[in-house]
Each structure stands twice: as structure tokens, then as C-alpha cells.
């Protein structure tokens, strides 16, 4: 069985090569060059690399700012409010009944806030 498969493997390549024309139609090179000319642009497209570099720069700065803000919220004035560390770090306001009523009072009858 294994020998038969080896036979098949050995004869399949030549069989396909012989059976099928493994070449493109004439004029393939012209079609490629024409397509490149039509699509335009320089051969060295460095936009994606430049964008990737910019992304990492911005991502680093943004991550630094987030850490700084989180640290400020945790360690700065008003940090000892009895909230969890996550809530404090994110600067979330404590949810109280008073705050809920204050929010409710700012809505009009339609529920969309004060209209002019």
C-alpha cells in the first residue's frame, strides 16, 4: 500500500505537468506591468511601516498618560472616598441616592434634558 502511494506520489507530478500547461497566457509580464502602472504608487510603499511606528509612539504616550491619571486619582486629593481601587483609579463618582435624584431632576418630562 505504501509502495503504491509512493508510486502515485512519484508519478503525479510529471502527470500533472504533462497534462496541464503550467504557464500563463502570453503577455503576462505586460499585464503585470500595466497593472502596476495603472495602480500607481512608488515601488517602496512605506506608509504601513510609518503608520505602525506612529501607532506605537502614540500608544506609548497614551499608556503613560493613563497610568499618570490613574495614579493621580489613586494618590491625589479626594482619593480616600471609600470606593474600590478600580473605581478610584478610573475617577468614577460614587453612586448615591442624592446623586441619582440630582440627575433625575435635570431631565424634563420627555427624558431628554432641558429644552430651550
Amino acid at each position: 500500500m505504501k509502495d503504491q502511494r509512493t508510486d502515485i506520489a512519484g508519478s503525479l507530478g510529471p502527470l500533472i505537468r504533462g497534462a496541464e500547461e503550467l504557464r500563463f497566457e502570453p503577455g503576462f509580464v505586460d499585464r503585470v506591468m500595466g497593472r502596476i502602472r495603472a495602480e500607481g504608487g512608488p515601488p517602496v510603499v512605506v506608509l504601513s511601516a510609518a503608520l505602525t511606528r506612529q501607532f506605537w509612539r502614540l500608544a506609548t504616550v497614551a499608556a503613560g498618560l493613563l497610568l499618570a491619571l490613574g495614579a493621580y486619582n489613586l494618590l491625589g486629593p479626594g482619593s480616600a472616598s471609600g470606593q474600590s481601587v478600580v473605581e478610584t483609579a478610573l475617577g468614577l463618582q460614587p453612586i448615591t441616592l442624592e446623586a441619582a435624584y440630582a440627575f433625575d431632576g435635570s431631565l424634563d418630562a420627555s427624558g431628554f434634558g432641558e429644552s430651550e
Binding site: Q4, I8, A19, R31, V44
Partner: protein, 187 residues
């Protein structure tokens, strides 16, 4: 003495914006790409389009080619990925199913004649039908190993799979091909 300009030099000139150098590369590797995409998709407009797209992609990313692999291997990898995408699209629109069914009906009618008694067109149709029956992963291994002539290691590198996976996929592919192709290879 050979006047053949090296790939390295052509690449440097093409990267610097010399279209003639890139054209020379396309001429040099046209058959390598053709072998892969036609092996995967069969001959026709779709294979031609994927072949063109292979070189257009290569042109757009010339600066990324580090010459760690040979240019033939690099282009084959692009061609293979684009061919696999084309097969997915084909499957999605059921085009392959319809073509395969028609070919299958014709082949079922013709019976298992030995290769010597078949016209070359029939042999081509039988071989294409047999390959079209393979799942795309198996077809990729058959194309690279048996048609393009890459080694198991090179095939594994191009497909980014372990060598053992290449061998097991090849074995399964041969199991599926055997009933279709045995009559064509028997003396």
C-alpha cells in the same frame, strides 16, 4: 561567463524605482508563480489574475523582502496565500461545486480508461478533477511537493506548518487521489 544579473542586483534596482529591473524579475519568476497558482486553481483567467496580484503585492512590499528565503520561495508563499484566498472565494460562491459536479458527471460517464487510451484533454480533465476534490490544505501540499517540486522542509516553511503536518496532509491527499489517478499511471 554569464551576463545574467543577480536577483540581488535586480531587487536593489527595482527597490530604487527601476521598472525595467522589476520587469526582469517578473520574467524570471513568472513560471514559478504560474506553477503554484495553476496547480492550485487550474488554468484560466482566475489563475492569471492571482498571478498578477502576486507580483503586484511583491512590488508594493519590495522593501520588506530581506532575502532570508530565496525569491522563488518568497513569491511562492505570496502566490499560495492568494490562491488559498481565491479558493475560499470560489467556495463561497459555489462556482467550484458546479464546475466539479459537471466534470465529475463527465468523468463518471467516461469510465476508468488507462492513460494510453485517453486523449490529452481527458487526462488533463481527470487530473484537474482529482485535484479539485482535495480540501485546499491538502491541495496546497500536493501543489508544492508534487507539482512545484519543493522539499518537505521548504513546503513546511512556505505553509508555515510543521514538517509532520506536511507529510500527514500529503499522505491523506494521496489516499484521495489514488482512485482517480491510479488508472492514469498504471502501465
Amino acid at each position: 561567463m554569464s551576463d545574467r544579473v543577480s536577483d540581488h542586483e535586480l531587487l536593489a534596482r527595482a527597490t530604487a524605482g527601476d521598472p525595467a529591473a522589476f520587469r526582469s524579475l517578473v520574467e524570471r519568476y513568472e513560471d514559478v508563480v504560474a506553477s503554484t497558482v495553476i496547480g492550485m486553481l487550474g488554468p484560466g483567467a482566475e489563475a492569471d489574475d492571482v498571478g498578477q496580484e502576486t507580483f503586484v503585492r511583491f512590488y508594493r512590499t519590495l522593501n520588506r523582502f530581506r532575502e532570508e528565503a530565496s525569491l522563488a520561495t518568497y513569491l511562492t508563499r505570496i502566490a499560495m496565500n492568494l490562491s488559498l484566498n481565491a479558493l475560499k472565494r470560489r467556495k463561497r460562491f459555489f462556482a467550484r461545486h458546479v464546475q466539479g459536479q459537471e466534470a465529475g458527471e463527465r468523468l463518471a460517464d467516461s469510465g476508468p480508461d488507462p492513460a494510453g487510451q485517453l486523449e490529452s484533454g481527458e487526462v488533463r480533465e481527470r487530473v484537474r478533477f482529482a485535484i479539485d476534490q482535495l480540501p485546499s490544505k491538502h491541495r496546497a501540499v500536493v501543489t508544492l511537493r508534487l507539482i512545484d517540486g519543493y522539499s518537505t522542509r521548504e513546503t513546511a516553511q512556505i505553509l508555515e506548518v510543521p514538517e509532520g503536518t506536511v507529510l500527514s496532509r500529503l499522505s491523506r491527499a494521496l489516499e484521495r487521489l489514488e482512485p482517480h489517478l491510479r488508472p492514469l499511471v498504471e502501465p
